[in-house]
Every structure is written in C-alpha cells, then in structure tokens.
Amino acid sequence: MVITIASGKGGTGKTTVGVNMAVSLDKAVRFLDCDVEEPNAHLFLKAVINEQTVVDTFVPEVDFTKCTYCGKCGEICQFNAIAVLKDYVLTFPELCHSCRGCLQVCPEKAVQESSRELGIIEQGRAGHVEFIHGRLRIGEAMSPPLIRAVKERIDKGQINIIDAPPGTSCPVIAALKGADFALLVTEPTPFGLNDLILAVEAVRALKMPLGVVLNRAGNGDSGVQSYLARENIPLLLEIPMDRKIAEAYSRGQMIVDVMPEWKEKFRGLYQKIEGIVNRQGDT
C-alpha cells in the first residue's frame, strides 16, 4: 500500500497527518518524506538516521581533444544547458535535465559522463517506522529526480506513507505517481478550499482514489464541506482547531504524544483508506 499525502499548499498539516498515522499503525510502516525542499517529518518522528546516500545526476562534460564544434549537442538540448561556440562548448549543469541527448548525439564521443549532486537521502528508524527522506542541495532547482530516488525505496510489502511537497506541479506529481491513494489535507478557509480544488484536479488527472482530512476544523467557514459533498469526495477525518495541538506542533511533538486517544482515530483513518483502495481493486 502506497499512500501519498498532498495538500495543494504547505502549512495545512500534511506532515502532521502523515507522522501521526505512521506511528499509530501497528504494522510495519515506511515513511518517505518527499518534501525534499523542506523535509520536516524527521523533526516529529525523531528517527535515528543510520544511512546517508548522496544522489547524483548526469551532466555532460566535453572532451576538447575530441570536439569538432559541430554544434549537434547544443541543438538537441531543449534546456539551453549546452551551447557550442566557435572554439568552446559551454555547459550549464544547473539547467541540465540529464536526458543524455548530448551524449547520444555527439558523433565524436566527445561528450562524457559527469555529475552534479542533487541532494542526499537519509534512512533510519523511529520505533516501528522505517524512515526515509531526501534533502535537496541548496541552490539545486530540480527536485523531481531526487523525489524519484526517494521513491525507489518504497517497499510494496509494507504500508508506505509519502509526504508530498506543496503545490500541484512537477514535484507533487513525482510524489503522487504510482500511489494507491492520495490523501489531501486542507483547512476550512477560502485559501484552503482554493488550494484543495487544485490538488483534487491534479489527483484526478493521475486517476487515483482520494480522500480528505480537514485540519483546524471549526476555525473557518463551511466552504470545504460543501465542495466535498458536491464532488463526492469522502471526508475521512476532522482534526479540530486546538491550541494544545498547535503548541505541541511548535515543540516538534505529534498529536498522539499529547493526546494518545487520537491513535485510534489515525488507525481508523488508515482503515478507511484501505477500505477504499480494496473496493477500487475489486471493480
């Protein structure tokens, strides 16, 4: 089972829902924090990291003893990452998407394999939760390849909870792809609704079942509820606006740390998801 938690926008409590659900389950769980720009789940799970891996990606390097300045590499590159001058070839590694087109196309085999660092992946443990996250290198613009590298560590035999980055563009799609279920977290405000609608559109484009957790319930209006009813989207859990929860969060504590009775609710949340995914599988 692979559940990706997304939210259209950050700050809605996506990580809160993910970590609380992970620790509440009594089965083997993997938590994969794919919010590689700002990974935060480790602050709550307090995982002990025991493995670090640097993730690199291909970038071209030109061997000038072979290059004839024919220009073919610059022509194929769609990202302006390689430019051929009269007697020099410029490369811009930060723009490179690692498609290897320049490498394939060069008739002189002058383009060679080099690499740039995308970031690191750290893996560790917090109780029964196997924890994995990626951290994007500062100044690195492209997060999807690092997200894909984190997702290579999904273990299909277990429950995998993926914390997605905010937004609805390529990084979120990278985190959502291949999941069995998309869990969207929102707030009962006009901003929350606006962002939720975008997230729902993204999930629907990828054709996977989805459900919603309403966070900070009671602290806004009823726009989100009417939208969910209209769109036939299940509201799976409501977490009330509670200063106790906000303060616990500020200290890096989880809801179940200060209110252990919530374990039951997060387990219930998982069971509902499992129910929906299984029904989906039947049809």
Partner: protein, 288 residues
C-alpha cells in the same frame, strides 16, 4: 525600481495575508502572485482581469501510432521512463527533452509546443496586479514566475511605479529561485515552530547562496516564545533584520473569510503592528 519578494520556507505561515496587507499599504507598486502553483492572493485582491495570455513552456513528445514500427529505440533512450511498452508517452513523465524525437528512425514522434498555463494583467483596488495559473501537473513554474516578474517590471516602468511586491512560492527549489534571484530583498515570514526554524534555516542558506538581503517576520510569535527567541538569535547571527513580531490572532482567518486585508477588516490593533512593520521594510528597502 525595487523588488521585494515575500517567501516563507513553507506555506501556511500567513505570508499571503501579510502580502495582501502590504498591498493596501504600499504606494506606487505592482503586485505579483509568484506562487503560480497555488495562487491565493487573488482571493483577497479580487482582480479585474484586463489582459489574459497563454503561457507556452517547452514541448511534449507524442508518438503517432500509424508511423511507429515498435523498434524500441525511444523506450531505450528515454531517461524518464515516460514511454510504455505499447508506445504511448505518459505526458506526466515526459520532460520534453526531445531525445526520442531526434532518434526515432521513422520520424514517428511529434513534438508540439506545450501550453502549460496562463497569465493575467489585472487591476485591483490597490493597483495593477500580475498573476498566473499554471496548468495542473505542469512543470515550468519557474519559467512562468520569471515571465510574470518581467511583465511586472515592464508595467512598473511604463507607469513609473517604484516597487514590485511579490508573493513568493514556498520551498527552496526552482520556483523560489525564480522568484528571488535578482530581487532587491526578500522578507521571510516564519513561525516559531520546530519545523518553522528548520525551514527558515534552509531559506537562510538559500538567500546567502544567492546573496539577497533578507528581512524576517515572525508570525504567531506567541505560540512558542522559546522558539521565537531562537529565531531572533538566528536572525542576529545571520544579519537578517527582524522587522516584525505578530501575535497569533484568529482575526487573520476572519479577514480572509471576509475576503479583505487585515487593514481593511480591522484597522486598529494588529493592523498597527503590520503598518509599523511595513514602515521598517520600506526604510530598509531604501538603503538597498
């Protein structure tokens, strides 16, 4: 012309509510919603759209099944695993590198331009506003942000406006880099939470990396005074000017629900603080 980008490490820190308030306080400016991925500022600014244009960014490959001989070249060459065994390209995986297009021996792959969003120039009760909507699941948010920033600069020049106020995207990746590089300064809105500090430090590394002067505002500072203190110390240590500390107040949410800026919704109390902060920001911007 000065450009201020408001960023936040993570969403939900109240950044957009503050930008909306600044929009009501600043004079002679163009506003930009740089969070093209999940734009919210329009909910408060209620723009009247004047012009509307498509945004084309990159291309996407499409296999023509009539011409395809199923030779397997493209599957082998695609680094993004975007081509299925039955030779259909998954548009969500295709990065538009064109390698398959180039190497297809029978030229069965087309490479049309991809319309990945739209952008608008609008009028609002606070002045001109440039904003955009990225298509669902589209990439190129960085390019779109860069584009609307250029439009805002053009507009500012035409109308002789001295300030561009940008509501920035979250994170530290491509969209944030696009929204902040070349800006005169950034204002980082943060919260006194363990993850807020963590995000602030990552953003701090980013602005240092790109050498952009940074100011910091702690929103909801009274949720955790210890952490708020840590943030203050961090700011001193990094040379980031702390321009404001705003207490937690549900009035921000109320104003948002009323689709008003906090200054319009409740001109006293909290609004005074926001005004004071804006004054400090403007003073600092003058020195940059």
């Amino acid at each position: 012309m000065k450009e201020l980008t408001v960023i936040s490490g993570k969403g939900g820190t109240g950044k957009t509510s503050l930008v909306a308030a600044f929009a009501g306080l600043a004079e002679n400016k163009v506003m930009v919603d740089g969070d093209v991925d999940a734009a919210d500022l329009h909910l408060i600014l209620k723009p009247e759209i004047k012009t509307h244009q498509e945004f084309k960014g990159g291309r996407k490959a499409v296999i023509n099944p009539v011409l395809c001989t199923a030779c397997g070249q493209c599957i082998e060459l695609c680094q993004f695993k975007a081509i299925s065994r039955d030779y259909v390209i998954d548009e969500f995986s295709c990065e538009g590198c064109g390698v398959c297009v180039h190497f297809c021996p029978v030229e069965a792959i087309e490479f049309p331009e991809n319309i990945c969003g739209e952008w608008f120039v609008s009028e609002t009760r606070f002045g001109p506003f440039v904003h955009a909507k990225l298509g669902i699941a589209e990439e190129n948010s960085g390019k779109l942000i860069t584009m609307i920033r250029r439009q805002a600069e053009k507009l500012a020049e035409e109308r002789n406006l001295g300030l561009i106020l940008i509501d920035g995207p979250p994170g530290i990746g491509c969209p944030v880099i696009a929204a902040t590089t070349g800006a005169s300064a950034v204002l980082v809105v943060t919260e006194p939470t363990v993850s807020g500090v963590h995000d602030l430090e990552r953003v701090g590394d980013l602005v240092r990396h790109f050498k952009i002067p940074a100011m910091v505002c702690i929103n909801k500072f009274d949720i955790n005074l210890d952490v708020a203190d840590r943030i203050e110390k961090y700011c001193v240590q990094e040379g980031f000017e702390l321009v404001g500390k705003i207490p937690y107040d549900p009035i921000f949410t109320e104003a948002m629900i009323a689709e008003k800026t906090i200054i319009e919704y409740s001109p006293n109390g909290l609004s005074e603080m926001v005004r004071g902060m804006w004054g400090r920001i403007i003073n600092r911007m003058k020195t940059i």
